[in-house]
């Protein structure tokens, strides 16, 4: 068990165990440990690579992990007691915004191109094209398309649903939406088990490199800012160890600055590529961090300065509006009821106050950020104080809302 009696620099480093899933958005955590930023805060962090989000959640919940690289919606769901035991979680630091992509088979890409009325890179065009492809398959009596994503409470799930529903495709009725472990995504597209998937880096690039798929969208084209992974700790742990948490945040802030400095890019990619970290080629990780991805097997490139935000543009500071947006998606898709208490609990998961206390408010916050904090490509601006009103205009949704 951990104690935080010793101030930084005195006594032995405090041992911490932190779980992660091998994905590019674990960069800040991995660099904090492997580059010595945690050690400089007198923290002796053991990183534990995990195989499933269920494992990360469970080990954090019962105290085998002091902290974890966690899907932002799992932090919210766990705090609300959705689908599982209720364990209040705090997210005082975002590990990444955005970073996922929607990848489709070459066959589906060709079908979408045939139906596209405009530039397929525009999510309004692609969603409408998808609706026509889905309708045509239905007319011909063919099996519905299958989309893979990573977890019921994942940004991937909500990003896919938001995008296709805006074009008139019901994600529960018109297609099949299945969970696949990220390392199985590429194989599943290769053997025809799925027609498309939404997953984080590096798996989209791996599928494109194999010549079997196209990246259709960066999710940052669907939502400008979506909280993707957070540094999660149990609320009771944070209460008992405020000083340790502060040190952990400082180590992460130093790591984020290192990761976002382009001069260190090669070193960061090398660190992340290690077999016990991500275990993929440094070059593939480089594309992700550069936000410059090969989107088609023929080598077409697409670049975005917000493909994956690790700390820059104020990304590391948690924004409770993001937690409210995730909660709104849980309501829309029938995972949670609407209640003021649950909304309050969801907002309380993201803790910019802890971030500011330890690190100060970032100076480049909101530089070019959307007014509602989300920046969805469709629908009215998000309003965390009127979630039902915000969801009302959407035709496709679940339950009694």
């Amino acid at each position: 068990m951990t104690t935080d009696l010793s101030p930084v620099g005195t006594g032995a480093p405090v041992p911490l165990k932190i779980g992660f899933i091998p994905l590019a958005d674990a960069a800040a955590l991995i660099v904090a440990v492997d580059k010595g930023f945690a050690r400089a805060q007198s923290l002796d962090v053991e990183l534990v690579r995990e195989i499933s989000w269920s494992n990360v959640r469970d080990r954090l919940n019962i105290g085998q992990f002091d902290a974890a690289h966690l899907l932002a919606p799992v932090a919210v769901a766990s705090s609300l007691g959705l689908g599982h035991v209720r364990v209040p979680i705090l997210a005082p630091f975002n590990l990444g915004l955005n970073g996922n992509a929607i990848t489709v088979t070459t066959a589906l890409h060709a079908a979408l191109r045939c139906e596209a009325q405009g530039d397929l890179a525009d999510p309004r065009v692609s969603a409408a094209a998808l609706a026509r492809v889905v309708a045509a398959r239905k007319r011909k009596g063919r099996d519905p398309l299958t989309f893979g994503m990573t977890f019921p409470y994942s940004t991937h799930n909500y990003q896919l649903r938001f995008w296709m529903a805006s074009g008139g495709v019901d994600p529960d009725e018109d297609i099949r939406l299945v969970v696949l472990p990220p390392p199985y995504m590429v194989e599943s597209i290769a053997n025809g088990h799925v027609d498309a998937f939404c997953v984080g880096a590096p798996w989209n690039s791996v599928a494109v490199d194999l010549g079997i798929a196209h990246i259709l969208h960066f999710v940052s084209e669907i939502l400008e800012r979506a909280a993707e992974k957070v540094l999660a700790v149990r609320s009771d742990w944070a209460g008992r160890h405020p000083e340790l948490l502060a040190r952990l945040l400082k180590a992460h802030a130093a790591a984020v600055a290192y990761v976002e400095d382009i001069a260190n890019r090669e070193d960061v990619c090398r660190i992340l590529a290690a077999p016990n970290r991500l275990g993929v080629a440094p070059e593939v990780i480089r594309r992700t961090l550069d936000g410059r991805l090969k989107v088609s097997p023929s080598g077409e490139l697409r670049a975005s300065d917000r493909y994956l935000l690790i700390g820059r543009k104020g990304a590391a500071r948690p924004d409770p509006v993001q937690a409210a947006w995730l909660y709104a998606q849980m309501i829309r898709w029938g995972q949670a009821p609407m209640s003021q208490d649950l909304l309050t609990a969801a907002l309380g998961v993201f803790r910019p106050d802890i971030y500011d206390d330890v690190l100060g408010a970032p100076s480049d916050r909101a530089a070019g950020a959307p007014a509602d904090g989300i920046g969805a490509f469709a629908g009215p601006p998000f309003d965390p104080h009127d979630i039902l009103g915000h969801l009302a205009p959407w035709r496709i949704k679940r339950g009694a809302i």
Binding site: S52, S54, D58, Q64, G83, V85, P152, L177, V178, Q335
Partner: protein
């Protein structure tokens, strides 16, 4: 179903030996309706066919996330809940995770019945881990004995010692360097390999 009907148990474990150990354990404990799954192809169909009351899955299986989704959305399978839902039984949960296993249980089952299955699973997972550790130990002990034999042979040939004296020399060297006799033997064999290759 009534609580008297035999419980249907589905075991999902990629390790064939551990699967067999668990199967035997559950049968010994009087459970008869056990289905074993080694891979997770067609998981939903299998769960639909088996209609299990209890699902046991090893924690190294990435398909745990797939299971959780099925229980959320599927309209054709009954919705088992994770063993974690009963917060009062924290000790069992911790033991299970330590042993490397998780379980999902259909709601409404009597705790005692499920408890017996969980305890059995945890103890068999533990037994498998001990077995694996012992096997590793035996393997490395065997390897070490071979190296020591080889080192003894080298000393006998090079230094004209008999077997007993060669072993005594190895042991003395190990003691004076504060190392294990196997390590000394290993260094000697590697050195000779280098010199003579």
């Amino acid at each position: 179903m009534t609580s008297e009907a035999p419980l249907k148990i589905l075991v999902i474990d990629e390790n064939p030996i551990r699967r067999a150990i668990l199967d035997a354990g559950l049968k010994d404990a009087g459970f008869t309706d056990i289905t074993l799954m080694g891979d997770t192809n067609g998981l939903l169909e299998r769960i639909y066919t088996v209609d299990p009351d209890v699902i046991i899955i090893d924690l190294q299986n990435p398909s745990r996330d797939v299971l959780e989704q099925m229980f959320q959305v599927s309209r054709i399978v009954r919705r088992p809940i994770a063993m974690f839902v009963d917060q009062s039984d924290r000790a069992t949960i911790e033991k299970a995770i330590d042993a490397g296993v998780s379980a999902y249980i259909v709601d409404g089952l009597k705790r005692e019945r499920v408890r017996a299955i969980l305890d059995m699973t945890i103890s068999r997972f533990g037994a498998f881990e001990r077995l694996r550790a012992e096997l590793e130990e035996t393997k490395s002990a065997l390897k070490e004995r071979k190296v020591i034999e080889k080192a003894k042979g080298i000393l006998m040939k090079r230094r004209g010692l008999d077997e007993e004296a060669a072993y005594a020399l190895l042991r003395r060297t190990a003691m004076s360097k504060g190392k294990r006799i196997g390590d000394i033997a290993d260094s000697l064999v590697s050195a000779i390999d280098l010199l003579e290759s």
